[in-house]
């Protein structure tokens, strides 16, 4: 609508003065370091893309990237398998049960990162309760020091990022459509598959992207529950920075991660769920309870 009008310069509104401090803070503390990191990655030792091509030729990074993507995919599948029924149930229970269920969803958000990882370490450790159950059933699985333990712990932390966009999408679906389908002779399964599932797809895609994206950047959980032999991208990044002092190489890897994250999140935003929608639920909790 504004296309037709010629662009005119107008003096910036005084409201920008209110925005400025936050913008200055975030720019100085986050964007300047990220910018410096980018510059270092393309200019060290001279103007070069070696640090980027190096990622694909050093033989280690690609292997770690593949392992990270595979772990992230596993986490996403687990979160989806658990999150979809939970989100669906959320739309079906009464307001009181829904309030309780939403508080439960937010528990992983609230639980201290270190306390939560420590707890998973206790639960999954050698000789811990889960392993005792598994060996009582005659199996043998090692959780700590493998990507399996990492997957279990990460899925729990990221489940809210699946449930919340799913819930906001599922709660907008008119159930009368399903009842109509049933009334016209459809089986419950067919009604779900042909009507409910397609309508929920926006939330599904958003949830999948969020969980996948966020699991790419996990550091503490793989560092504590995984092992150096099975390291993920974040561990590699930390090692390059603090031990090898390869700031340029770490910068290149970090930029790759940042760009991948932003592209995926922008995609998720387009499909339906938004970053701020999740933030709103996270900060407002169970406010929503029609």
């Amino acid at each position: 609508m504004s296309n037709a009008r010629p662009r005119r310069w107008r003096p910036p509104s005084a409201s920008w003065l209110l925005v400025a401090p936050a913008l200055v803070l975030v720019t100085a503390i986050l964007f300047v370091p990220l910018g410096e990191s980018f510059l270092r990655s393309v200019s060290s030792p001279t103007w070069t893309l070696d640090n980027y091509t190096g990622l694909f030729t050093d033989g280690v990074t690609v292997k770690v990237l593949v392992r990270t993507a595979r772990t992230a995919a596993e986490v996403t599948v687990v979160a989806f398998a658990l999150g979809y029924p939970y989100a669906y149930l959320l739309t079906r229970v009464g307001p009181r049960a829904r309030a309780v269920m939403l508080v439960v969803v937010l528990v992983p958000f609230w639980t201290s990162v270190m306390a939560r990882n420590f707890a998973w370490l206790l639960i999954l450790q050698r000789g811990g309760p889960v392993q005792a159950v598994v060996s009582a059933l005659g199996g043998h699985v090692t959780f700590v020091g493998t990507t399996l333990g990492v997957t279990i712990a990460m899925s729990q932390v990221l489940l809210p990022f699946m449930v919340l966009p799913l819930y906001s999408s599922l709660s907008g679906i008119d159930r009368r459509l399903l009842l109509a389908a049933r009334g016209l002779g459809s089986s419950p399964l067919a009604a779900f598959w042909k009507i409910y599932w397609p309508l929920s797809r926006g939330g599904v895609v958003a949830g999948l992207i969020f969980v996948f994206t966020l699991s790419l950047g996990f550091y503490v959980t793989p560092a504590l529950l995984g092992s150096p032999q099975q390291s993920l991208v974040a561990q590699l990044l930390a090692e390059r920075t603090t031990q090898l002092l390869d700031f340029a190489g770490a910068g290149a890897l970090g930029m790759l991660g940042l760009v991948a994250t932003l592209v995926l999140v922008a995609w998720a935003n387009r499909v339906g769920g938004t970053i701020s929608a999740i933030g709103v639920v996270a900060t407002s909790g169970t406010k929503e309870s029609r």
Binding site: L18, V19, S37, A99, V100, S112, L122, R175, L179, T283
Partner: protein
């Protein structure tokens, strides 16, 4: 019908069974047509347990005494708490965390609230872009931020300093303030600003007397989240730590990776309980108010 037994085990559901009876009856009639399958309820309960499992496990472990790395605990003892509150290493890092979190929350709340108010009045592409910029750290992997901040802070001589921690933590706390204040502003009637101005109040006075009280809860929620974000932040803190200054999450990290110090169980429980309390605080205030607030409307 099928869901009632499973869900009545939850504390809120069983708290006021008498008051709720009319609504339950209405729901039951509805379920006849479109029931919730029992297996879905079972899945829901299991997933719910998975959500709360780690939180539920740290507290019993913390009162298990020396064998703190075992679950379930065999004996009851408060030794770990005694150790936490007598060890200067743990107490010192707790103090550092509180100091950093308070300062970071104050800074983030001040600039975040201003930005939310400013952006609320602005429209257009630039404003949308700036809002996205301010929110972007929420989805940026903290390891990427940590690595970049570490390299720059080394040059700026900010690693290991309170200033460095406060600035970094305030920057990542801004999105939470921005979001919660923005959502509070959503229900805010801008006509009140004009009314206030027409009655002769200056913009500053209007903000303090009109805007602030109406969006106060949003600001408080944002502040709490900024505090908790900083208090709980470990990845950036791991990079900024120095031998003389480290925060509680870093000390917890050390105790798992290097020293195997069981005191972490006590500190985990303390953090879980206090963080949950802080985050539930605005929630509890909120759930009670709507009725009062709804009446005059």
């Amino acid at each position: 019908m099928t869901t009632t037994p499973a869900l009545s085990g939850t504390p809120t559901a069983s708290a006021e069974p008498v008051l709720d009876r009319p609504r339950v009856l209405r729901r039951r009639r509805h379920r006849g047509v479109d029931p919730v399958p029992w297996w879905l309820v079972v899945i829901g309960v299991l997933v719910g347990l998975y959500f709360v499992l780690p939180t539920a496990i740290v507290i019993p472990v913390s009162v298990g005494g020396e064998g703190a790395f075992k679950f379930p605990p065999k004996v009851f003892s408060l030794d770990l708490y005694r150790r936490f509150f007598t060890d200067p290493l743990w107490l010192g890092s707790l103090g550092n965390s509180v100091l950093v979190a308070v300062l970071a929350a104050l800074l983030a709340t001040a600039v975040g609230t201003a930005a939310a108010v400013g952006l609320h009045r602005l429209t257009g592409r630039t404003a949308r872009f700036v809002r996205t910029l301010l929110l972007v750290s929420m989805v940026t992997p903290s390891i990427v931020i940590a690595v970049a901040v570490y390299a720059s802070f080394l040059q700026w001589h900010l690693t290991g300093s309170v200033t460095g921690y406060v600035l970094a933590h305030a920057a990542i706390g801004v999105p939470f303030v921005l979001i919660s204040v923005t959502s509070a502003l959503g229900g805010f009637d801008t006509k009140l600003l004009r009314a206030s101005a027409s009655l002769g109040a200056s913009p500053a006075r209007t903000f303090v007397r009109v805007t602030m009280p109406l969006i106060g809860r949003g600001i408080a929620t944002g502040a709490v989240f900024a505090f908790v974000t900083s208090f709980d932040e470990v990845v950036i803190a791991l990079f900024l730590r120095s031998p003389t200054f480290q925060t509680l999450p870093v000390q917890m990290y050390n105790s798992v990776t290097y020293q195997l110090d069981p005191t972490i169980a006590a500190s985990s429980s303390l953090v879980v309980v206090s963080v949950t309390f802080f985050l539930l605080l605005p929630q509890l205030v909120r759930t009670r108010r709507p009725r009062r607030q709804g009446d005059p409307r």
